[in-house]
Amino acid sequence: MSTGRRRTRGSEQFEPVAGNGLLDRRLLLRSGLALAGVTAGVAATGAAAEPLTNDPWTLEMGEPTPALQVPSRFEKNVVRTRTNPNNEFRNSHARTPHHLLNGTVTPNSLHFSINHAGLPDIDPERHRLVIHGMVKQPLVFTLEQLSRYPLVTRMSFVECSGNSAPLFSNEPVQGTAQALHGLVSNAEWTGVPLSVLLDEAGADLSAKWVIAEGADAHALHRSVPMKKAIGDALVAIYQNGERLMPGNGYPMRLLLPGYQGNMNVKFLRRLKVVDQPAMSMFESKTYSQLLPDGKAWRFHFLQEVKSFITHPSFGQTLKVPGLYQISGVAYSGNGRIAKVMVSADGGKSWSEAALRGPVHPQAFTRFDMPWRWDGQPAVLQSRAWDEAGNAQPLRKDFVAARGETQKPVTNPAAFPNQHYNSLTSWGIGSTGEIKHVYA
């Protein structure tokens, strides 16, 4: 009843549910709210409607339909940012532009990619996957053979454990969600359960580890616990419905849902069942992170519960006061996202965001919160909880446990430390400009 009455009014009658103009998330799906927002926007800008005309693309036949379609030429700024475009002898990163995307699936062309020794140009006909070590019968597989197995399809994020590393800086590094959080992406992966292949080889399940190795120019290898290998691990051969992108492991990769990206070995060519970890360079050094007391964590595995706001965020500007949709992504290596709270006053008050379903385990869940910006300074934050009950740590608690740099980080592509999963805060100025802040 009251709904009907509200539909006819502007957004002003919605009572804020938390400080600085957060509105009730249950109002999100009511058509009346969207209408009210549009009306408010038009009124605020004072734009008068002009008579409509037919543009050239309406007046003549268009281009031929291409075999492989690419985004509109007007979307040329929606690209990954790269750290090593000249392919120097070092690693290279390409980050996902989260602030320019919506939904939960990262398009394959924009999925983040890190390559430690360049991008191998692998002929799928010649690629082989070997399973050996503590097994009854070592086996070798071709891509064609694996493609004939019963396949499993699931959503999963993959996140570099160095994602969000600029937030270890003692002063906020200014950067987009792409610059700060671009080393996580989310896709639908299709592949063969690793447990099936290990079973066929007669793997000794008392062995605690499986060494996974790639066919790249580092022959990059990581030690994977047998528990994960016979759990939900996949040998993935499709990404969002098509074969894997070269930068994401073509023609096959290990997918360990919720585990740090580097363990999801790309260009997978070898799995060796063993009774001890290999202590490869990447697990010994790069992905063992220092704690404030000089000790280091080893075998972190998990990408823990995390969220960040993509809209609005750094690089965008709020042009007029009025209604906006705060939106972002949340995910946890521990399972499904249970809830996301949003604050517009730097954490003084919170309200629960709406989750766009379906909510998949170890995958992006998009959250939304309607917000009426009054033109005054505001600080937007999100905080996620997973189904295991883990809360994304508040920054003061995270810094108390994990530390921060003593000097400001000047290079946003640097990795002062690993496994940052605390909050991200976007400060809105009275001009609508957005900065990365700590709150």
Partner: protein, 179 residues
């Protein structure tokens, strides 16, 4: 009664059938021998398994380093030449900050890691081109630069796993229940 019996039999058959289907996997992998995998099976493990025959000393490693490594890693392993090629020698205290550089000398827990990475991934422009003796010699050279072993200590499959790295006790397993 008979209907019940046949239903029971049918459901039993169904159950057995499902179990048989579940257990049946394609088995399309071809048998291969460990000898045929040898060229890929190069992981050098902390306990010394996987280390090949051969040996080397720091003195033998120095000229190889000068020829194949110095261009990126710099004189005496000091680094600072090529971006991405970190120093191979030195390293300050790990309590200096959470972003303190992690080096072979101050951080690595196992000497096998030096051998393994050099063997599989270096030189950057020509991986897997070093002989096993060269890898032992370069490993010895790097460990000696860090004063972890002496100039004339021989590194081989027996001695390398016995090298005690300074930070070997510096690690905490984050999620032991997941191993």
């Amino acid at each position: 009664m008979s209907t019940r019996k046949s239903l029971l039999a049918a459901s039993l058959l169904l159950t057995l059938g499902a179990a048989a289907v579940a257990a049946e996997t394609p088995k399309l992998g071809k048998p291969i021998t460990e000898a045929e995998i040898a060229a890929w099976d190069i992981a050098a493990m902390p306990d010394g398994s996987g280390l090949p025959p051969g040996s080397g000393t720091a003195a033998q490693g120095a000229p190889i380093y000068a020829q194949k490594c110095v261009a990126c890693h710099g004189e005496g392993g000091k680094g600072g030449v090529a971006p991405g090629a970190g120093p191979l020698a030195g390293g300050g205290p790990l309590t200096a900050g959470i972003d303190a550089p992690k080096t072979i000398g101050n951080f690595y827990g196992q000497a096998s890691t030096v051998f393994d990475f050099t063997r599989r991934s270096m030189p950057f422009n020509m991986p897997l081109s070093l002989t096993d003796n060269e890898v032992y010699a370069l490993t010895a050279y790097i460990l000696a630069l860090n004063k972890i072993i002496g100039e004339n200590d021989v590194m081989d499959a027996k001695t390398l796993p016995q090298v005690k790295m300074p930070n070997r006790d510096g690690f905490i397993i984050r999620f032991p229940d997941r191993i």
